[in-house]
């Protein structure tokens, strides 16, 4: 019995000392654990809070390159799960990372920016390389808070082999799209896949289509949010909702049970001819099935002349107002937004870029990048909505897909939007 007491005591002491040691060694003071020798006196460490897991490896390569020419700056990339929530928590407790990526159209970010938590970069030399149209698109209340590097858009993935073997030309109008769907369905092929299990995808689709097809939608929704109109006043909403239901007649059997990952895998194995989602899926599809012959075309409008595609800023870099080592952070941003760095970063993902003169990679999306370069774009309308609203829209739409009740859906939308800015 004595022995066990002694053992217990030693264990406890060891435990306590380990706790103390652990607490001390990884406290707020920067600990250079990146394997290099002990930092020189003048070495500055900055944390790059990077939100895209697909980019981690290429960013690490870029960081190494940056550190070669800037040996006094140590950059540690930190890519956590649920990054947006973590970022918000940290900035609100005055522990913001020195440099980070975020999304200018994200409502929480906008709120933080308006509260002065993010550095205003509007006339900063860091913005000099940015395409003017994109800089304009990323403004919040007329100011730029993030340097846009990568852009995203949504479009229709299509299986080239299935299109060819059924003699289908790329649709340029909605009528042609439906015709193509008819043809495929008659041939026993699932025309579309919809991943309605998660409201996030539905939200993206609704926001995209609202922006693309409903006239003056930003102004109208602004009126509704200010209590000056009701959703139901606008005659265009009913056919819009109907179109969301109509296209799903050409979807797979279990749309509500299919998640984004499931749809991606099934598209990659040729179970469907078309799939509407963002260009961010290209890498994953290619990895899942390198033999798949696929590309994207823009989601068509009623008239081919009106064709435009939604653009959102997918990767953008900024600094917090109360962040440390701002000079070094700015130097890092400067490096990361050069033509060479951006081309390397976007090479595998293939996103179009917000930086001037960058050749964007992948041939699968040439028709989309062409639209972007031609300026036939529009920003995401949800950037003007208060936090949490876009999720509600997604969920309400998901509900409509289940009940098929358009009247109830429009009422739900009205409840979501009406007068919300005055509460």
């Amino acid at each position: 019995m004595r022995k066990s007491m002694v053992k217990g005591g030693i264990a406890a002491l060891t435990g306590l000392s380990l706790v103390v040691a652990a607490g001390c060694s990884s406290g707020k003071s920067e600990s250079a654990n990146t394997g290099s020798a002990s930092p020189e006196a003048s070495q500055v460490k900055i944390e790059y809070f990077q939100m895209k897991p697909e980019g981690v490896d290429v960013v690490n390569e870029l960081i190494q390159k940056f550190q070669e020419s800037n040996p006094n700056i140590l950059v540690e990339q930190n890519n956590v799960p649920n990054p947006e929530n973590v970022w918000t928590m940290r900035v609100s407790t005055d522990d913001a990372p020195a440099v980070f990526t975020h999304y200018p159209h994200n409502s929480v970010f906008q709120k933080m920016a308006k509260e002065g938590q993010v550095v205003d970069l509007t006339n900063d030399p860091l913005m000099a390389n940015v395409q003017p149209a994109i800089a304009e698109l990323s403004k919040i209340d007329g100011k730029n808070y993030l340097v846009p590097v990568g852009l995203a858009t949504l479009g229709v993935y299509y299986n080239k082999d299935l299109f060819e073997s059924n003699n289908i030309a790329l649709p340029t109008t909605t009528a042609e799209l439906y015709a193509a769907a008819e043809k495929l369905q008659a041939a026993g092929i699932t025309p579309f896949y919809f991943h309605d299990k998660e409201y996030n995808g539905i939200r993206q689709e609704v926001v995209f289509k609202m922006g693309q097809t409903l006239p003056d939608i930003e102004q109208f929704l602004d009126d509704v949010m200010n209590g000056k109109a009701h959703i139901t006043d606008n005659a265009a909403f009913k056919p819009f909702a109907q179109s969301l239901l109509d296209i799903r007649q050409y979807g797979q059997k279990d749309m509500m049970g299919t998640s984004y990952d499931d749809a991606l895998r099934d598209f990659a194995t040729g179970k469907t001819a078309m799939w509407f989602t963002g260009i961010w899926a290209i890498q994953e599809i290619a990895k899942s099935n390198p033999d798949l012959n696929f590309a994207m075309f823009p989601f068509p409008t009623e008239n081919a002349a009106d064709l435009k595609t939604q653009v959102s800023v997918d990767t953008a870099i900024g600094i917090p107002t109360r962040g440390k080592n701002q000079a070094e952070a700015k130097k890092f941003i400067e490096f990361m937004t050069t033509k060479e760095s951006v081309e390397k970063y976007l090479a595998t993902a293939g996103y179009p870029s917000g930086i001037k003169d960058v050749q964007s990679g992948r041939e699968e999306i040439t028709s989309l990048t062409q639209l972007i370069n031609d300026g036939k774009i529009y920003p995401t309308i949800e950037r003007l909505w208060p936090p949490g609203l876009n999720a509600e829209v997604g969920k309400a739409t998901q509900e409509m897909f289940i009940t098929k009740d358009i009247g109830k859906y429009l009422d739900a939308l009205d409840t979501i939007f009406y007068n919300v800015l005055n509460q």
Binding site: N85, T88, M89, V91, S92, V108, K111, M112, E115, D196, K197, E198, Y199, K253, D254, M255, M256, G257, T258, S259, D262, P387, G388, A391, K395, A396, Q398, E399, I402
Partner: protein
């Protein structure tokens, strides 16, 4: 009866000090912080907020979404507790007999508890998407031929099944321990008296099982009422909010919908609910307890 040096009173009190200090400093403080914010309209990150008193609490009682979450959570808990503990008890009884390979079986059946909930959720996601539907189609059962999780009426059963698959293991172990505490001489005496297995179970075994049953029921109810990980991994609260549990709703409000004060007020209600339910069932079960005290 005082002894030299430290009286037993002081010694006992000292034994409680580490726990009390830690608990007060690192748990009670956050709880009170949370309670404080439940009286505000704080969104979770802004620099400014207003005190609103009991407004959150009143609004919650009229909030359909909260009431839906409440009814979902209660139904879910009922299903999970009954099946989880039922299966655990049956397995515990089977695994308390003297069988060969008993140890091996016990190890295998504990395995589900070793996996993380997220892992289990993801694996079962695949079952529901690609394994069960073909079976449902072959058998001609309509609701089984689609993803259970994609249908608001059946999603609750999909999540419950996953929870039960993983959740029976720990109660089973606790029941095995409880069954082991039944004195052999009593069971033998009952056998000699000619009691049937059912009679034996209810008059001899059950009273000794009560402590473990109490533990299992309290923990199972708590787990059911605060279900969160499975919802996140499998349905995200959907389709269309039909599987929003109370725990999930609190998280949504606090972290994603920027309504932290409101979410914490909801949590206080959940706290009261769990407390009430546990209190009632402990009282009910302690009447039938065997053993000392």
């Amino acid at each position: 009866m005082k002894t030299r040096g430290f009286g037993p009173g002081a010694a006992f009190a000292l034994l409680t000090v580490p726990a009390v200090v830690l608990y007060a400093a690192f748990f009670l403080v956050p709880v009170f912080i949370g309670f404080y914010y439940s009286l505000t309209d704080w969104d979770g990150f802004s620099l400014s907020y207003k005190m609103v008193g009991l407004k959150n609490y009143i609004n919650i009682l009229q909030d359909k979404r909260f009431l839906n979450a409440m009814s979902f959570t209660l139904l879910y808990t009922a299903i999970v507790v009954v099946f989880k503990l039922g299966i655990a008890l049956i397995l515990a009884m089977l695994l308390s007999q003297s069988l060969k390979l008993r140890g091996l079986f016990r190890s295998i059946y504990f395995f589900p508890a070793v996996l993380s909930m997220i892992t289990v959720g993801m694996v079962f996601n695949q079952f529901f998407y690609s394994l069960f539907p073909p079976i449902g189609e072959a058998l001609g059962i309509e609701w089984l031929s689609r993803n259970l999780l994609g249908n608001p009426d059946t999603a609750i059963y999909g999540v419950a099944l996953t929870n039960i698959w993983q959740g029976f293991a720990t109660p089973m172990v606790i029941f095995i321990a409880g069954l082991a505490s039944v004195p052999k001489d009593l069971t033998e005496a009952a056998l000699i008296d000619g009691a049937t297995p059912v009679q034996r179970f209810f008059s001899v075994t059950l009273p000794f099982l009560i402590p473990m049953l109490t533990v299992n029921v309290v923990l199972a109810i708590k787990g059911g009422l605060t279900v969160f990980d499975y919802i996140v991994a499998m349905t995200g609260g959907g389709p269309s909010k039909s599987t929003e549990s109370l725990g999930f709703l609190i998280y949504q409000h606090g972290m994603n919908e920027m309504k932290f004060g409101y979410g914490t007020a909801e949590a206080i209600y959940v706290f009261l609910l769990i407390g009430l339910v546990s209190f009632v069932q402990i009282k009910l079960l302690s009447r039938k307890e065997a053993g000392q005290q």
